[in-house]
Subunit: 194 residues, 2 copies
DNA sequence: GACTATTTGACGAAAAAGGTCGAATCGTCT
DNA sequence: AGACGATTCGACCTTTTTCGTCAAATAGTC
């Protein structure tokens, strides 16, 4: 049965997730995952090629769930400032968890795990788009102002990420008193400059 | 220099404590302890015989600290009921942490680590004495009443631990409305009966 | 009862971890 | 300077752990 099979796989992923998140990749053993799933170690290999494969599935599932949650929470909100706030909040709480999660694991294997970087990039692109969309919307609604009005929102966010382009959210609208590039630093890297 | 030496030892203990408490005995490696202490692995062996030796030092230090904290917090308090409350509170919070800490680790090695049982017993004795002292004091000050006035306080506590002797704290004094044996269950095993 | 899906124990190879040892380095005292 | 103990560390050996494989056993279904 396919359903059965998928269920077993899911169970393994869920179990592995909780163990990985506590012990990291290296310290988590197949034996532990197996025992926690009440299976023999060999059975795990029936569902997954190897340990990295399980880990991959865990991260991808987690990433997907965060994406979904973000979209769901933002869907109904109209006000761009509110949307940004929600985006920041959820993103900080959930995604940083994931980031820490797998960066802690990356340090185990350093150069390995290119797939994590792929997920990361895909995320970044998603976020750039999402934030740019919100900002664009905010500009159109007159909630945000930008120094150089020639820049498109998406260009702004992209540029800000790499170059720290000095762009402001005007103080007059809403209660953001932070430069957007700092906001992005905050958003993407958790760095707060004062 | 002896001071230097003791300081280095303490640093290792502290470092090891934090790693042990997260990863448990087995998953913590000497290499990790060494790196976190910014020493070579061999240097660790200059201060400790082996891994178990470090672990022992960690647990003993932690135990000692809890003891000290308990005594300090209780020292000034006069009212026996207050003392009991503090005792319960601190004990539950700190000692259970330690219990969980090393019981999680015990599961790694099961029968090994008799020294932990020794610490445990020493603790139990301490607690029996401490609680008995508080109760004795409470009886003398008329805050507690006991069904069978022939029992000494220490006999009560000892007996209660093993036999669930039904002894009451009278409702009239203070705000304990719980049988003492339940209190002890709560105290020693975290079990609350309603 | 044949055929597929699933589980598992035994096993080998490779990696990791505990622990040793001798040489190097540091700090201090004369 | 140099002698001497305290401390550090890299190289190394040995044992244990861990990953991953495979063939046989079991469960389930048509």
């Amino acid at each position: 049965m396919l359903v059965q099979h998928e269920e077993a796989k899911l169970k393994i992923i869920e179990t592995a997730r909780s163990i990985f998140s506590h012990y990291g990749f290296k310290k988590t053993t197949m034996e532990e995952i197996a025992q926690a799933t009440r299976k023999g170690k060999s059975s795990i290999y029936y569902y997954f090629e190897n340990k990295e494969d399980i880990f991959k599935a865990v991260v991808e599932k987690e990433a997907e769930e965060i994406r979904t949650e973000l979209h769901k929470k933002i869907a109904d909100v109209e006000d761009p400032i509110e949307r940004l706030k929600i985006y920041i909040t959820v993103r900080m709480r959930k995604f940083n968890k994931l980031t820490n999660f797998y960066s802690a694991i990356k340090s185990d294997y350093l150069s390995h795990f290119e797939f994590i970087e792929e997920i990361r990039k895909s995320y970044d692109l998603d976020e750039v788009k999402a934030i740019a969309g919100i900002i664009q919307d905010g500009i159109e609604k007159g909630k945000f102002t930008i120094d150089d009005p020639q820049l498109s929102a998406i260009a702004i966010v992209t540029a800000m990420k790499g170059l720290e382009v000095p762009i402001f959210v005007s103080k007059e609208h809403g209660n953001f008193e932070v430069r957007l590039n700092n906001l992005i630093n905050f958003l993407f890297y958790g760095i707060v400059k004062r």
